[in-house]
């Protein structure tokens, strides 16, 4: 009897482990920054590099940081969704222009439209690294206390926005409350 139960049991355990692994997302790394204060930055503005922009200016209200670059194909994919989200006016989008060249970044916003209240220019990529970025586009939600409450890696869509971001924005202390 045991000579059947033991192998079948072992096989069932292995199958259970493999099955549990099937649905897991192995591409998206969990960010250690969730629940931690958003890293502060002060960088030149993409539209006017003689001016600086810091996310300190947004303290006290929730905001979204979207990491983008003109070299990033997936950012091109999500751009229309960001434009729509920006028009909805539910929250301010801050762009972090990561590892880009200024003329290319400026042209991107002129040609495709600018969904951001402001974009910060991070050519060396150190601020992106502070935010734990490893592949643009990445989108962070920061709440009114300055805590990162959510991170989404992959092109933004309206569906993701409504499912993952909107409920959290309401909790994060929505604009005008």
């Amino acid at each position: 009897m045991w000579r059947f139960i033991i192998p079948i049991g072992l096989f069932a355990a292995l199958a259970a482990f493999l099955y549990a692994g099937l649905g897991r997302d192995k591409e998206t790394l969990p960010s250690p920054l969730i629940g931690k204060p958003a890293p502060l930055f002060e960088l030149p503005r993409v539209d006017d590099p003689s001016q600086k922009i810091s996310n300190r200016a947004f303290a006290g209200r929730p905001y979204v940081v979207n990491i983008w670059g003109s070299w990033c194909v997936a950012c091109r994919d999500e751009h229309e969704a960001l434009m729509q989200i920006s028009r909805r006016g539910e929250i301010e989008l801050i762009g972090l222009n990561w590892k880009d060249e200024l003329p290319l970044a400026q042209r991107w916003l002129q040609v495709l439209g600018n969904p951001y209240v402001v974009s910060a220019f991070d050519p060396e990529g150190n601020v992106g690294i502070d935010w734990g970025a490893y592949g643009a586009p990445e989108t962070f939600l920061v709440d009114a206390r300055g805590i990162i409450v959510y991170k989404y890696i992959s092109p933004m869509t309206i569906e993701i926005w409504e499912r993952e971001f909107l409920p959290r924005i309401k909790q994060a202390g929505a604009k005008g409350e």
Binding site: L29, P30, S31, P32, K99, N126, W131, G135
Partner: protein, 143 residues
């Protein structure tokens, strides 16, 4: 065929010649050795199965630059690793820390060895109790 082999081997060498940082990062050989050891323990988040020493991804080159800058600023290995873990989590380390949630991972080789050994001992003990004859083998069976 030999010529083909030689060409293939030559091609492999050219790949190596494209190696990432051609010039040493530090003039001091001890510092350079330390730098190379540190970047071999950090994972490239873009390529996942490569260290930042081996990867030519842009992010890996930025992380190498940060390691160089932190070393120049006199930071310890521990501070450099902590800097990376704060941003990217334990996953950035090639050697995961020993913690309750990684005990199974670290114990796995021992558990597998003990488990496999127990099964082997069980099977060998049982087989050795069987009569030392093999009816299908005429040589043994006849003796």
């Amino acid at each position: 065929m030999k010529v083909l082999f030689a060409m293939a081997a030559a091609l492999l060498c050219t790949q190596l010649a494209f190696a990432i940082d051609t010039a040493p990062a530090f003039a001091d050989p001890a510092q350079q050795a330390r730098y190379e050891r540190v970047i071999r323990e950090l994972r490239c988040l873009v390529c996942r199965s490569e260290t930042i020493a081996d990867s030519n991804a842009l992010l890996a080159s930025d992380l190498r630059r940060q390691v160089r800058e932190m070393m120049t600023a006199g930071k310890s290995d521990q501070e450099i690793f902590q800097h990376m873990v704060d941003r990217y989590g334990d996953y950035v380390l090639y050697k995961p820390p020993v913690a309750p949630r990684t005990w199974l991972l670290w114990a796995a080789p021992i558990l597998l060895l003990v488990g496999g050994g127990a099964i082997a001992a069980f099977v060998i003990a049982r087989k050795s109790r069987l009569p030392d004859t093999d009816p299908t083998d005429p040589g043994l069976g006849a003796s």
